[in-house]
């Protein structure tokens, strides 16, 4: 797991781009936890790029007139919201980077099990049920098919069409 750079900026961004429920039940902490795991799987250059996006987002707010020179992390919702909207609507490379960061953070939010349950997505019981059904319905056929994989030539189900 990689440490999330500029955590306070990432948290503030998550509060604005994720649904409002992110502020409940320490979900923002868990989003940052997921983000750290995700960053850990990225190559160093990509990690640096996303860290750069956070810096651009944070410092770029100083140039946004309603912020009156403050950084993004220090803005209240009434200014931070329109600022984020303005940034995400831009079509420059910096905005592209921030849009990618937004996508990653949103993915981390929807990775949380309680969020998935809230929208009716709970795959584990379903997977368990259809896996059982598969074995009950097709057990012998499955075992025969699996045996083909490592069977020596001439053993098990013969391969069709071997040239």
């Amino acid at each position: 797991m990689a440490e999330v750079p500029f955590q306070h900026v990432a948290r503030r961004f998550a509060e604005l781009v994720c649904p409002p429920e992110v502020r409940a039940d320490q979900r923002a902490d868990r989003v940052l936890g997921e983000l750290g795991l995700m960053l850990g799987s990225l190559p160093p250059a990509a990690r640096k790029a996303l860290a750069g996006a956070l810096v651009l987002l944070d410092q770029g707010a100083r140039l946004y007139p309603p912020s009156r020179g403050r950084r993004f992390a220090r803005l209240g919702d009434e200014v931070a919201g329109p600022y984020v909207r303005a940034v995400l609507a831009r079509r420059d490379p910096a905005a592209e980077l921030i849009r990618r960061l937004k996508s990653v953070i949103i993915m981390c939010y929807y990775e949380l099990p309680e969020v998935q349950r809230e929208i009716g997505y709970d795959p584990a019981p379903y997977i368990a049920a259809v896996s059982r059904r598969r074995l009950e319905s097709y057990g012998p056929d499955i075992r025969a098919g699996e045996a083909v994989v490592t069977a020596a030539p001439g053993q098990g189900t013969p391969e069709r069409g071997t040239p």
Binding site: C18, P19, G40, P44, M107, Y110, E111, Y121, P123, V130
Partner: protein, 508 residues
Amino acid sequence: MISGLVTQAEVAGDLSLDCGAVVVGSGAGGATVAAELAEAGVDVVLLEEGGYHPTESFTAATGRALRTLYRDGGGGMAIGRPSVLYAEGRCVGGSTVVNGGMSWRTPTRVLSRWAEQEGLRAIGERDLDPYFAAIESRLSVGLQDPETIGRDSALFQAGAQARGWAVVPNRRNQLHCAGTNSCSSGCPTGAKRSMLVTSVPRALARGARLFADCRVDRVTRAGGAVTGVTGHFVRPGGRRGPGLTVRARVVVVAGGAIQTPALLARSGLRSASGRLGRNLSVHPNAVVTAFFDQEVTGWQGVHQAFQVREFLDEGLLLTATNLTPPMLAGILPAYGAELGELMADYNRIVTAGPLVSDTGTGRIRSLPGLGPQVFYQLTDYDAGRVARGVELTAEALFEAGARRVLLPVDAAPVVRGPDELRRLLARPVPKRSLQLYSVHLMGTARMSEDPRRGVTGSFGEFHGAAGLIVADASLFPGPIGINPMETVIALAMRNARRLVERRDSYGL
């Protein structure tokens, strides 16, 4: 742990190995070659940069899958206007562990084109049919059991058929797929017959040795022939581990259309054609998100059950594919409360879209400190076909009863009916505004009998380096317009068997 597998955790110091053939990459091409050669008694070392993750470790969790089974967390980006996001598998079994399992033979017209344009030998339908038959038997390729077809696929099928379009059930490498809809996270039942559960264990059962967590740095050479590879093990967190040297008579490179040309280029190999790393096709695809009144629960049922083939002559393939909540939320054109409202309808959503057989090409360039980077420019013609594919997809979804759709176009409004759709798409869609994805990357070491046109010959042999074989989708002279896995495997099997026939000349 399976017999014959060594992971980084078991390696304390540098390793030096000798073998007949070293195979780089354990995906569709590499695992197939390894199994074929091992079966013929060749001493095979199979190297995989990713980790070994058995079937029992697979769940539906998207984040876990992206971190462990994909290169760079699945977040590759081909740079261009627009950029194209792409994903590559990186694990034992390669992309076959995370793909949808679509298994289609190469279209005859594509094989004919390749043979004519590149003078390729033994690549006609009759030449390849026996290999396809063998693969389909080994990988249990067939149609889905009907109880596994989800409502999202059924709705899209109904919409397309109501339009009078040709719809075909998908052929997949599956052994009574349970329909868990977890293809892209690794099949939790092992029903998807990926290389992880087929050709890799087959190779190991015949004596091949597999080294996971092992990144190959270079192909080594002496004179005009390859002599093996050097590389290193990758420790957790990406830290560099012990080194590895493999001496081999034959080197088979099967790292996919990005990593293969990058490895060959950093090994100092050059193609007289100048095409190494060029000629990249990506089959750009786009996602249309449709909202229905009724419950769809698209995550219950097989990943892709049907393909709309009505527009293949235009280079368009349409299909419905469910996306997990993180994947869908990550691409929706919304955030904050608006995103929450859209995602609250997750169980009423169908996602579908076109795949385009592209005419444009891209290239792979290794940049200092960044490694291989992909550059790809969508042509105006292809952009027009993406837009047409999006329109057709949305038409089918409206026909099936969708109340509104979101288009993969920046700043596009919500579309609430076919008339609005036609009005919106009557004007050309700005190319830069398209949101595109790819999981089919091909063509960067293309086959041609003419070394001035291609990087490799008819049987994957690298022009100008004896003993070097390419065995992945890099070989394709161009896009094939359908799912490429079975073609990759067929070519790998064919080329491996030819290698065995000529083993004396390779010193095997």
